[in-house]
């Protein structure tokens, strides 16, 4: 046998190399298509961060074999062959390719080979931004249920690769609901999430300390619901809500989640005191979705003057802000920021860009829970000029709602139901220095086809600057404490 191996080896190498299929022919031998190839996800003419995971994609065209050529303006080209129409880009090659083209662009050329006949599709461009996106994204994965829940968990995804790690899964906490994870300015060192059920409470991590806190007080409507960390880490604002939910009869709608009462409270992380935020405890208004300005001097929130007698489809929220002095902990005047109700809209989820210039919120026709409103769109408010717009590049015909800013101000990640109308997926968009968003693209997955078969919703995306390194066992042990 030993005598033959030196003969067999070249034959084997030849056989393997011949399995790779034909090489690309010269331009003359190509039949040109005057359109781009249909690909999924739609990565055509988008802007991406230089530290994003490979944009694996699928060609949705009839054909036997597909080839792609990625030609960087500044760097090498990458030639790819598709297996069953799916292009998987080698991570190392991709990282080097993006680094070489950072701040520039590359062209994607797609070719088809059918029984030796070559077709070239119209190429498309991908811009590579200079500014990186925060490397980690935390979200909850949950089947999009209405009243019941089963398995769910909080997960962190390394955006530079396809690695996804659980932070905590509810199967380890007696199947309780875990929700509303929140971070202080994208830091994984200060975070919290709620547990609802037999082990209910709010899990707060401050550096190395983790504690479970019951935020319900006699004078508050409920325990803390929607959280917002003050940048100093000394305070956390929460809404307290009396929530009701109803099921629509019309096929176009599904579920309505309404606040019948809501206020804002402030939790002091040092003294553990809970106080009502002045002006919000009255019954004249309902306030919810608190969000601090990056300098900690304003608390933004959604507010409505609707009361329990107002018809559900006439409840509309505006965005207000209240001044705050972090040194004394005293709140000042309240002023309007976006009077959405004057446009017949309701505004939710206000979030301020890290440079304090922009406010991004969700606009919908009425109510306080846009995630089941198909008409919900993201709205950008320039806090310097006061101008607001609903950017077409990021919005769709379906629900576009919860969002998070990257520390660089240039990236947002938001949740949208545009893919199939039910299972929320995450989209990334670049905002240039003029405040213009670029075309949003789907969070890259190792297998692009998995988007179709995945039966969980991505919930409440939060960009963070480093991974949550807490031991899962510690979360669970703390959660199980009475």
């Amino acid at each position: 046998m030993t005598d033959y191996k030196w003969i067999l080896l070249p034959a084997l190498i030849f056989l393997i190399s011949s399995c790779n299929g034909p090489a690309l022919p010269s331009d003359e031998a190509l039949e040109a298509q005057e359109r781009t190839a249909v690909i999924f996800p739609d990565y055509k003419n988008i802007t991406i961060p230089a530290n994003i995971a490979p944009l694996n994609f699928e060609v949705r065209e009839e054909g036997e074999r597909f080839f792609a050529l990625l030609e960087g303006e500044n760097g090498p080209s990458v030639q790819l062959k598709a297996k069953q129409g799916i292009f998987r880009i080698p991570p190392k090659k991709w990282t080097a390719f993006l680094e070489a083209n950072r701040g520039s662009q590359f062209t994607v050329k797609i070719y088809k080979n059918d029984s030796g006949d070559w077709t070239a599709y119209e190429p498309f461009i991908v811009q590579v931004a200079d500014e990186p996106i925060d490397p980690y994204l935390v979200y909850r994965l949950i089947p999009p249920g209405y009243e019941t829940w089963s398995d769910m968990g909080l997960y962190q995804r390394d955006l530079t690769s396809f690695s996804e790690q659980p932070i905590v899964e509810n199967r380890n906490i007696e199947d309780n609901c875990v929700n509303c994870h929140s971070f202080n300015n994208g830091s994984s060192e200060q975070m919290l999430f709620h547990i609802r059920g037999s082990r209910g409470g709010t899990m707060i991590k401050m550096g190395d300390d983790i504690e479970k806190v019951d935020l319900k007080r006699d004078e508050t409507l409920s325990a803390g619901v929607y959280p917002a960390w003050h940048p100093s880490g000394s305070f956390i604002a929460f809404s307290t809500n009396r929530i009701e939910q109803y099921f629509h009869a019309r096929p176009e709608n599904s579920i309505e989640v309404l606040d019948r009462q809501s206020d804002l409270i402030l939790y002091d992380t040092e003294s553990k005191q809970v106080t009502q935020i002045p002006g919000t405890e009255e019954d004249d208004y309902m306030e919810t979705y608190p969000s601090w300005s990056p300098n900690g001097r304003f608390l933004y929130f959604s507010r409505t003057d609707a009361d329990s007698s107002t018809s559900f489809d006439s409840i509309r929220y505006d965005i207000y802000r209240t001044a705050f002095d972090p040194a004394t902990g005293i709140f000042g005047e309240t002023e309007p920021v976006l009077l959405a109700s004057e446009q017949g809209k309701s505004a939710s989820f206000p979030r301020i860009s890290p440079d304090g210039r922009y406010l991004l919120c969700t606009l919908h026709n009425y109510g306080t829970f846009p995630i089941w409103h198909k008409e919900a769109d993201l709205c950008l408010v320039d806090l310097v000029t006061g101008k607001s717009e609903v950017p077409a590049m990021i919005n769709s015909d379906d629900t576009d709602s919860y969002h998070t800013w990257a520390r660089s101000n240039r990236w947002i990640v938001f949740s949208s139901r545009r893919y199939d109308g039910r299972y929320t997926k995450l989209y990334i968009s670049y905002m240039d220095t003029e405040g213009q968003f670029q075309k949003a693209f789907l969070l890259p997955q190792k297998d692009p086809g998995s988007n179709g078969s995945f039966l969980y919703s991505y919930n409440r995306p939060e960009l963070i600057t480093g991974p949550v390194q807490e031991n899962v066992r510690r979360w669970i042990r703390t959660a199980r404490k009475e």
């Binding site: 089947p143 249920g145 209405y146 009243e147 019941t148 829940w149 089963s150 380890n172 109803y246 099921f247 629509h248 009869a249 019309r250 096929p251 709608n253 599904s254 309505e256 893919y419 199939d420 109308g421 039910r422 299972y423 179709g452 078969s453 039966l455 899962v472 066992r473 669970i476 199980r480």
Partner: protein, 466 residues
């Protein structure tokens, strides 16, 4: 145990696995020690708490065989598995120690505290002790021993079957089987022969009556002890309720609610053929084709459901085909234009709102009238009659006719309903009132009326209190 509702395949497999391993374990020596050293952790990984049964069997066999307690065996069958579980709880698994110690065992509240697993385990140990007594059995010829053993096993099996077999459950499962296969005639025939006083049996009987257009004719022919709940369940997140409750909403073309219940069933039970097909159907009728395709693909990925998935595919992006389909078309046509919130606690309101959108929705109307009959609301029935009779081609079902008779009898001055009672109903009413007047004692009157009027609204009105 298999007759018992919460018993799962994993429980049976656990028993079979440990029994098989307890049989094949080497008798003694280093091979037995090695088997235990490797087998115990593996058995725990595969079958969880069943490792205790395995260790118990091995220990009992060892004690019976050697007639003494072997310390090494105790170490391997008690301390070793305990150590594995404690170390597992500290380093590998995230579940609490208490859960890990008994995981997968068919005990505790979730299993309904059934005695059968205990009895079965007792039986295993008893057999072992009997076999271990040795000498007395050796005097019997092997053929007789085999025969006696087999006969004993069969006798025990018959006894267990006798005591554990639940005829009512079996009847109910047959009803559900007929309902799922939409054999409505078969179902009514079966219930006629095997009257069911099970909640789900009552629910499906009423569903079958609606499907056959007989609900307001034969309602009291069948058990109605659950009143409103026999028509439609109140919302409950329990698996057995959400799994079935949506069938009511699908029958009355309340598509959003049918979807809601199927969706909750999917969350509680995971995807099943039943909730997945209902999700597909409701999404197709609502023209949510993207998500319908997702569910069809999911259904088609199961080897046994491909044909069913293929049945649904032609409806994707094809509203015309949906319109023409006998199952989907009416539900698409009964479109709800004036939105309302579904009131799961108020069935009358739900049905009224649905009918305000589509007054010709006969199943919804039948259910509403059945509800009013069950609640003895004769005035409300009379108020609904002009609209209801339109859906019934001008002839009122018997029970509604009987309620109209009562209404006319008690509201002589009031002409709210101009619809006439049929001559046959009037004659029967005269006969009914004649007998009723004849006997002053209600008990005697009921006995006398029962043979001829047990299925009438009048009998229900006078003698049934829910």
């Amino acid at each position: 145990m298999h007759n018992y509702y919460p018993h799962q395949l994993s429980h049976s497999l656990g028993f079979i696995l440990v029994m098989a391993l307890a049989v094949v374990i080497p008798n003694k020596g280093i091979r037995k020690t090695g088997f235990l050293a490797i087998g115990v952790p593996l058995i725990y990984l595969v079958s969880g708490g069943f490792v205790w049964l395995f260790c118990g069997l091995v220990l009992a066999e060892g004690v019976l065989r050697s007639r003494k307690i072997d310390l090494k065996l105790v170490l391997f069958t008690i301390l070793y598995p305990a150590l594995i579980i404690i170390v597992g709880a500290s380093l590998i698994f995230l579940e609490p120690l208490k859960e890990l110690a008994v995981i997968q065992l068919p005990f505790g509240p979730e299993y309904g505290n059934s005695p059968w697993p205990w009895i079965f385990m007792g039986w295993l140990f008893l057999c072992m002790i009997l076999a271990g007594t040795g000498d007395p059995w050796k005097k019997i010829k092997p053929a007789w021993r085999t025969l006696a053993g087999t006969t004993t096993c069969l006798a025990v099996m018959v006894l267990v079957m006798h005591f554990s077999y639940n005829r009512k459950n079996a009847e109910y499962f047959q009803i559900e089987k007929l309902a799922v296969s939409e054999d409505w005639d078969g179902l009514l025939q079966y219930v006629e022969q095997h009257p069911s006083n099970n909640l789900f049996g009552s629910f499906y009987t009423n569903l079958a009556l609606v499907k056959k257009g007989k609900l307001c004719k034969d309602l009291f022919r069948y058990f109605q002890g659950y009143g409103r709940r026999g028509l439609c369940f109140e919302w409950d997140s329990k698996s057995e309720i959400v799994r079935r409750g949506g069938d009511f909403f699908w029958a009355i073309s309340f598509v959003n609610e049918a979807h809601h219940w199927a969706f909750e069933s999917m969350i509680v039970d995971g995807f099943t053929q039943r909730n997945l097909t209902r999700l597909i159907e409701t999404e197709l009728v609502r023209e949510n084709f993207k998500i319908a395709k997702k569910y069809i693909d999911l259904l088609g990925s199961s080897m046994f459901q491909r044909r069913l998935a293929d049945h649904y595919r032609p409806f994707l992006n094809n509203p015309e085909a949906i319109q023409q389909d006998p199952e989907f078309g009416p539900r698409m046509r009964f479109h709800i234009n004036n939105d309302f919130f579904s009131e799961d606690r108020d069935l009358e309101s739900n049905l009224s709102m649905l009918l305000a959108n589509n007054p010709l929705n006969r199943p919804a109307y039948d259910y509403l009238m059945a509800l009013l009959l069950l609640e003895k609301k004769v005035d409300k029935i009379a108020g609904r009659l002009p609209e209801y009779i339109e859906t019934c081609n001008g002839t009122l079902p018997e029970l509604v006719d009987e309620s109209l008779m009562v209404y006319k009898f008690t509201h002589k001055e009031d002409h709210l309903s101009d619809i006439d009672v049929s001559v046959a109903t009037m004659r029967r009413f005269q006969e009914y009132t004649r007998i009723l007047r004849q006997y002053r004692d209600p008990g005697v009157a009921a006995r006398m009326l029962y043979p001829s009027f047990q299925n009438s609204f009048w009998f229900y009105l006078n003698f049934s209190s829910l």
